[in-house]
């Protein structure tokens, strides 16, 4: 290792210790300042090492980029990144589930049935981009990844994504809707697992996540019958369906009447909706006006 890299390494060690001491002394400002210095030192160290490596004669077994990693393979096999843009992957996963869903679930669905996954961190910016894109040129694209709306205030439901081409009723969320959608998704996933030509571990794991929380769906992860799971889900669905549909129908009606196109897709914030919801009492037929 070059001399400068070694000196940097010592400096980095001292800086790390200093950051820790600043944190222990509850001195936030000093800790931040030290962290900034630390980052610079680490970058300089990386650069120094990269420099040293490029000066290695070629043909050495450990030149960068040639040798495979040494030692036993470590870590789980992470699914490779897809060639499709993020919005397409999310659309694929949502279309399989046919109900609004959270980014984490969508990533798992995609890994299970489309052999690649995506980082959920990028999803927030995607939502913002989709809304901007719609507002700039409404309906220009065949579909948009949009929000699901809360039935009472027609605000974007936290953490859920939906497809713009779905009917409004499917894109509003009442109190029973998370459960109803979970059961519907289970039915879809069970059907998708049945269609697989050969077992996919990620898909089985996903199916078990549904089956484990549905009474009568499956004994254990090793003995799952997709048809039985779908039946069990259907059975519970019957219990909730009419109440949930009632709520969703009423909310969808209000949304179509009171919101503009963009708001119907991406929701409205409290303030605007409160005025329009106004005197509505009860909830959807049982709405929850405050």
């Amino acid at each position: 290792m070059s001399e400068s890299a070694e000196i940097l390494e010592q400096r980095i060690g001292r800086l790390r210790a200093a950051v820790r001491q600043a944190v222990l002394a509850a001195d936030k400002d000093r800790a931040s300042a030290l962290r900034r210095e630390l980052k610079q030192a680490e970058q300089a160290w990386e650069d120094a090492l990269a420099q040293a490596e490029t000066t290695l004669p070629a043909g050495l077994p450990d030149s960068p980029g040639t040798a495979p990693s040494q030692g036993p393979p470590d870590g789980p096999r992470t699914a490779p990144a897809s060639l499709l843009p993020l919005r397409e992957q999310i659309y694929q996963a949502l279309s399989l589930l046919t109900v609004p869903a959270a980014p984490k679930l969508l990533a798992t669905v995609h890994e299970a049935f489309f052999a690649s996954t995506f980082p959920t961190a990028k999803v927030t910016s995607l939502k913002r981009d989709e809304e901007r894109s719609f507002r700039t040129a409404p309906f220009a694209r065949p579909y948009y990844v949009c929000a699901a709306l809360t039935a009472d205030l027609l605000a974007p439901a936290r953490g859920l994504l939906a497809v713009s081409t779905w009917p409004m009723e499917r894109r509003v969320i009442g109190p029973l809707s998370p459960r109803v959608d979970f059961l519907s998704a289970a039915i879809q996933v069970a059907a998708a697992v049945e269609r697989l030509p050969s077992p996919v571990p990620a898909a089985s794991r996903l199916l078990w996540r549904f089956a484990a929380s549905i009474p009568g769906a499956a004994q254990d992860a090793a003995r799952m019958d997709p048809r039985q799971i779908a039946q069990a889900a259907e059975a519970e669905l019957q219990v909730h369906q009419s109440a949930d549909s009632e709520t969703r129908r009423a909310a969808a009606m209000r949304a179509r009447a009171q919101l503009d196109d963009a708001e119907q897709l991406f929701g409205t914030r409290l303030g605007a909706a409160a005025q329009r919801v106004g005197h509505m009492a009860g909830r959807g037929g049982q709405g929850r006006g405050e």
């Binding site: 549904f210 909730h240 929850r288 405050e290």
Partner: protein
């Protein structure tokens, strides 16, 4: 502002009041006799900051790994309309199948302001009692308040469930494991008292709307990972004892005037920040101000209070610093030097005085130790 509130504000100085949360309220139950803690907490002082400023920063910290793991487990339990939690409530408490509705109270129409969330929480909970047919089942991230020492603290239990025998139940999700049916006793105890805080807050919220306290069960639910997996498992906690202790503690805090009356007028813990926010108060002066309020240090403080190192330093030379049992074993004598003088016989208390019994005890011990070691104490 009342006289007491003004007083407390003056003690706190220009800093913003520190918000209580369930953990800090639960910690109040731990050391009831400590006036220093009671006053600092009532004033909303930032104990962490004060301790660090006097050169005795609190030895507490949270590893991000622990936080991440805790958040991940909670997210998993609550995913998809709290599907896993629903399974547990159905298995553990026979929740009827139709009861499956889920309300997320973490925001109101995209707005996360505490006042809005608290109002909506109160509304939903009250409606659940008065209109049971339209009641919800699971209320996620509800926001409650509790009056602590004259100030309202916002409290956010993990989840509240309803329609379990017509009662509300507080549900806490923790990421420490239950292995073969057993979990770390200290951690369960901490979870129990935190849950009790939420029960109190929930009962208070409902009482404002004329709903009796029995509407909230004194049995809370603790959700933990089972063995070495992520699969959640539930345990019931009976928190009646904790509720009694908490109520007693909170009522003591409410009588903070008695403590304040004993303090020198003009006492403040203000750091005197300049325009750039840099504190100007001399640390030694602040330490002196803190010492005006009596503390009751015990080694247990090292696990629960941010002032622990400051108070420990102050308590050096006292037998309490060695532990409550040790102090008792030394006949209740307060200072190490006194105990040793009594043990050596260089200090002889009057017969019949308080220290006489302790002196007998200590002298015997000193004699026996000297005998066994062959050297004087």
């Amino acid at each position: 502002m009342t006289g007491t509130e003004a007083w407390l504000a003056r003690l706190r100085g220009r800093a913003l009041p520190v918000r209580h949360n369930a953990r800090t309220i639960a910690a109040l139950a731990g050391n009831p006799g400590c006036a220093r803690r009671a006053v600092l907490d009532a004033a909303g002082a930032d104990k962490h900051r004060l301790a660090a400023y006097t050169g005795f920063p609190a030895p507490f910290g949270l590893s991000r790994f622990a936080i991440t793991r805790g958040n991940a487990f909670e997210a998993q339990v609550k995913a998809s309309g709290a599907a896993e939690l629903l399974r547990i409530l159905r298995e553990h408490l026979s929740l009827p199948i139709p009861e499956a509705s889920y309300d997320d109270l973490s925001e109101v129409g995209g707005n996360a302001s505490p006042e809005l969330r608290h109002a909506r929480t109160r509304g939903l909970l009250a409606r659940a009692v008065t209109h049971p047919a339209e009641a919800g089942t699971m209320f996620d991230h509800p926001l409650l308040t509790l009056r602590v020492g004259g100030r309202a603290a916002y409290l956010e239990p993990d989840l509240i469930a309803f329609q379990l025998g017509g009662q509300f139940r507080v549900i806490e999700v923790k990421s420490f494991p239950v292995v073969d049916g057993r979990a770390d006793g200290d951690k369960v105890a901490a979870a129990a008292i935190q849950s009790a805080v939420y029960v109190l807050a929930l009962r208070d919220a409902l009482a404002e709307q004329g709903i009796p306290p029995e509407a909230v069960s004194h049995e809370t639910i603790l959700i933990c990972p089972e063995n070495f997996s992520n699969r959640p498992v539930a345990a019931s906690l009976d928190v009646r004892k904790q509720l009694t202790v908490l109520r007693r503690q909170l009522s003591r805090l409410a009588r903070i005037e008695d403590l304040l009356a004993q303090l020198p007028p003009g006492l403040t813990f203000d750091l005197d920040p300049d325009d750039a926010g840099v504190p100007r108060r001399r640390p030694a002066e602040l330490a002196e101000a803190l010492r005006q309020v009596e503390a009751r240090y015990a080694p247990e403080c090292l696990n629960t209070c941010e002032m622990c190192l400051f108070c420990r330093d102050e308590a050096r030379g006292g037998t309490a610093a060695l532990g409550r049992e040790v102090r008792d074993d030394l006949g209740g004598v307060e200072h190490v030097a006194t105990a040793l003088r009594l043990a050596r016989g260089t200090s002889v208390p009057e017969r019949g005085s308080e220290l006489a019994e302790a002196a007998d005890l200590l002298r015997t011990a000193a004699r026996l130790r000297a005998d066994a070691l062959g050297e004087a104490v």
